[in-house]
């Protein structure tokens, strides 16, 4: 079985963000692997360990992704492809999905695993669009994957009415939730081995495509401005005897906030 996993480098969401002149101030920001992609990597490696598989990751953009890709190697990913092209600077999810389609078509995989969304955009579109472009079945928000035979997997996803169990014919695309697993910490041996591994660096031309071909010349949507979010101000905080402060807060809820 061949598994393709998508990995994106994103801004560390734990850090404070500031916006100036319509852009995010870059000072002091750090870039890390998208948390949901880390779950996707873990899911791929677990399938490899259980059923045997060749695992490949692909990452688009992010500049120097060496550290991030090495981390994934150390977790157990076999091969890495990194696509960097200035034409993709303004790409939206649809364009990323088109580029991924080209990557898929070069090698063909049995299963594509992506994170359910990226922490920088919170869009949650790329994996699903990729499946549409490839004409493959797709299940999103997946919390478990089990290989049933050469041609099928059984997955469960969190849906609106509960947990949905689906039988999916391969090849297929799944997008995973953080509830699927707890990503492993790379071990020393893995880290050492990862250093020796190559990363297949490509631009769109090397991938056999072009900006026009993937729609990058005319994105369907573009961010024209970043703005600061409305921040909630800390309100009143009460310390002291529980009986007293709890009574005080209930009183305020009734008479000040008027929610009761």
């Amino acid at each position: 079985m061949k598994i393709l996993t998508t990995v994106k480098k994103v801004v560390d969401v734990e850090l404070n963000m500031h916006v100036k002149d319509g852009a995010i101030v870059q000072d002091g920001l750090q870039y890390v692997i998208n948390a949901w992609d880390e779950n996707a990597v873990e899911a791929s490696v677990q399938l490899k360990e259980k059923n045997g598989a060749e695992t490949t990751l692909v990452s688009i953009g992010g500049g120097d992704n060496t550290d991030m890709i090495r981390k994934c190697y150390a977790m157990g990913i076999d091969n890495g492809i990194h696509i960097e092209d200035p034409a993709l600077n303004k790409a939206d999810s649809a364009i990323f999905a088109k580029v991924l389609q080209k990557v898929y078509e070069k090698e063909k995989y049995d299963l594509v695993i992506t994170g359910k969304q990226a922490q920088d955009t919170d869009s949650g579109q790329t994996g699903i669009m990729l499946a549409q472009y490839l004409g493959l079945p797709c299940v999103s928000n997946v919390i478990s994957i089990e290989v049933t035979d050469d041609k099928h997997i059984k997955v469960s996803r969190l849906g609106d009415a509960g947990t949905e169990i689906l039988e999916v014919e391969l090849p297929a695309v799944v997008t995973v939730s953080d509830s699927i697993n707890e990503p492993r910490l790379p071990q020393m041996r893995g880290i050492m081995m990862a250093k020796k591994k190559k990363i297949n660096e490509m631009d769109l031309a090397a991938l056999g495509t072009s900006a026009d071909d993937v729609g990058a010349a005319a994105p369907k949507s573009e961010v024209i401005e970043f703005m600061a979010s409305k921040v909630r101000k800390a309100g009143q905080k009460f310390e002291g005897a529980a009986a007293e402060i709890a009574a005080k807060v209930v009183n305020l809820l009734a008479n000040e906030a008027k929610v009761f």
Binding site: M17, A94, D120, D122, S123, Q125, A161, E164, F226, A242
Partner: protein
């Protein structure tokens, strides 16, 4: 006149409030409105769909559509959008909406945006607003397409009274089942409980409650208030709370009048799901807990001590 197709949010046969909210917003921006209702026994919802403000109702009603399956669901929406000539297709905030919107966008060759909180229309230029990076920033997005498929963030739009539409029903043919991603089983969430998305008050429990006894204690507060009972991920991971109770980026986004966070630290991923609430109360024994940065009323204390007193005091004022 722009045309907006709203996809009705139907859960266990019940039409959810977001449908009227989205239709109200569509009317407010001067659009012609239609609604698509997809599922089983959806015909029965027609009067409600009209009342919610739709001027045309695309109805897909088939036993095969009872369980959600993204392929057929998206096919129905795309079919309705084409028949209506929709400029925009809006889904309410739901897992089915998130799973379907990118498919519909790909099928209509439209732009796609999720978690939108506002839409502006100037001529046929569409512009949207949406949070990104776990709500830390807002993005203003220009849509370079004359068509947009969007998922609207929970609580973004308000339903207006008296916007009733007109009945004009179009039946959609049921698409074939998705045999390549076949839904085999649904392990249903416990019914009869208050849906977090609808609740006017939500009480959520976090790791501070420790175990089942702690969870039960906090649940009593929720029950007293007839509130939805939510959870942080820690208590879902711990097996104390069901997945569908999780509030936050991976769970439900809620915007009730009152949100009470009990024993929750206030991780960014949790905050992303509840800072749209009107009033926030936090109970936490750590005065430095980040939840206090967003709480209107913070109670620094041991929840095992505070919660029973809160229940007593609330009984006094609410009778």
């Amino acid at each position: 006149m722009a045309k907006v197709l709203v996809v009705a949010d139907i859960k266990q046969g019940v039409l959810k409030g977001s449908t009227a909210e989205l239709l109200s917003k569509a009317k407010a921006i001067g659009a012609e409105t239609a609604v698509a209702a997809i599922g089983s026994k959806t015909e029965a919802l027609i009067p409600e769909l009209v009342k919610a403000g739709s001027d045309k109702q695309y109805i897909a009603d088939a036993p095969g559509l009872e369980l959600f399956s993204a392929g057929p669901y998206a096919a129905c929406v795309a079919d309705a959008a084409k028949q209506f000539g929709a400029d925009m297709v809006w889904f309410g905030f739901s897992e089915s909406g998130k799973a379907s919107a990118p498919r519909v966008a790909a099928q209509l060759n439209a732009a796609c945006a999720t978690e939108i909180t506002d839409v502006k229309l100037q001529g046929n230029q569409i512009e949207i607003l949406r949070p990104a990076i776990a709500n830390k920033v807002m993005q203003r997005v220009k849509v370079n397409s004359d068509k947009l498929v969007a998922v609207v963030r929970a609580g973004a739009f308000e339903a207006k009274e008296g916007i009733a539409g007109t009945q004009n029903v179009v039946k959609l043919s049921a698409p074939p089942a998705d045999l390549k991603a076949a839904i085999k089983e649904l392990i249903s969430d416990a019914s009869g409980e208050i849906d977090l998305a609808d609740a006017d008050i939500v009480v959520s429990v976090g790791r501070g409650a420790k175990d089942k006894a702690g969870v039960d204690l906090v649940k009593q507060l929720a029950d007293d208030l007839k509130a939805g009972f939510g959870s942080s991920r820690a208590m879902v991971d711990g097996g104390f709370m069901a997945h569908n109770k999780q509030v936050g980026q991976t769970g439900k986004i809620v915007a009730p009048s009152l949100y009470i966070a009990v024993g929750i630290s206030g991780a960014i991923q949790h905050l992303a799901g509840m800072t749209g609430s009107k009033v926030i109360v936090a109970v936490n024994k750590d005065p430095e807990a980040p939840i206090f940065n967003v709480a209107d009323y913070g109670i620094v204390g041991d929840l095992f001590e505070v919660v029973p007193i809160l229940r007593e005091e609330i009984k006094k004022v609410r009778g």
